[in-house]
């Protein structure tokens, strides 16, 4: 229990060391800023968003997002501006096109394949059980 509290305290103190301390003039803009910076990839570190990355380029991109929000750009306009400069790879959720199609459809294909294999295994097993039964029956009738 005490260990749990200790770990929890440590975890909480980690989140207190915020990388980004930008504050926008109103709550609505702040919320949009936080959402957008979490969906843009830090191009230098790849698997971090620009909100989570301490590198200089990420803070430049955050500044860019904040400035565009203040300038009255919509979320889509800001995303488009980023894609124009860095390509779709900057979005953690890339749009569906020919190059990204397999990323979108592979999980569905894999799930269907898993389901198919699962059903086959279950059927096979139940057939074995039936055969077992019949063996027992014939055994009994033989007796």
């Amino acid at each position: 229990m005490r260990l749990g509290v200790l770990v929890l305290t440590l975890l909480l103190s980690m989140s207190a060391v915020a990388i980004d301390v930008t504050v926008l003039p109103d709550a609505e803009k702040q919320a949009r800023y936080e959402a957008l910076t979490h969906e843009l990839r830090c191009m230098q570190c790849m698997n971090n968003s620009i909100a989570d990355s301490p590198v200089g380029l990420a803070s430049d991109l955050r500044r860019d997002v904040a400035e565009q929000i203040i300038a009255g750009k919509t979320d889509d306009e800001i995303r488009d501006a980023m894609v124009k400069r860095y390509g779709n790879v900057i979005l953690f959720t890339p749009p569906l096109d020919r190059s990204s199609a397999w990323v979108w459809f592979f999980p569905v294909i894999a799930a269907l394949a898993g389901l198919f294999i699962g059903i086959r295994i279950v059927r096979q097993r139940s057939r074995l059980v039936e055969q077992d039964d019949s063996v027992i029956e014939t055994d009994e009738s033989a007796r």
Partner: protein, 176 residues
Amino acid sequence: MNRFIVPLVVFLGLAGVLYIGVRHSPDKSIMASALLGKPAPSFELPVLGEARKLSSRELAGKPWVLNVWGTWCAGCREEHPALLAIARQNLVTLVGLSWKDEDAAAQQWLTQLGNPYSVVAVDREGRTAIDFGVYGAPETFLIDERGLVQYRHVGAMTLEAWEREFVPRLKRGGLP
């Protein structure tokens, strides 16, 4: 027999997918620029060591090469001899972009190592670099006489990359 084939096929399929994933993971050095074939972003930036500004409009009409560098960047030191050799060929205007750097450090670097650039624009806040989609120094762009981005090299520039990627594109444009 059959009970081994299905898991084997699944395993091979999964291994294949993961192999492709590993081979094609977004390697930082192979990403093509999103700006290829598009107009190079415009800028107006201070010129290193001079009191004037450089506007991208001044560069229009002729092909030019933009090299993004900083004295804090190891790859930039590595590529510097290649840049000097490229500059000696005198094929194209070589513009430097001093990215998020101190002017004094940049000037000292050029004095010590030699200056391959026709002109160096100073991007202290990194805004122009973002417009070019730069994600790590050094990066080198080829812009044609129409102002369109024709190529981007990521990482230290080499004479091989210059001969293979830049020179043919320069010649294709029907230029010097």
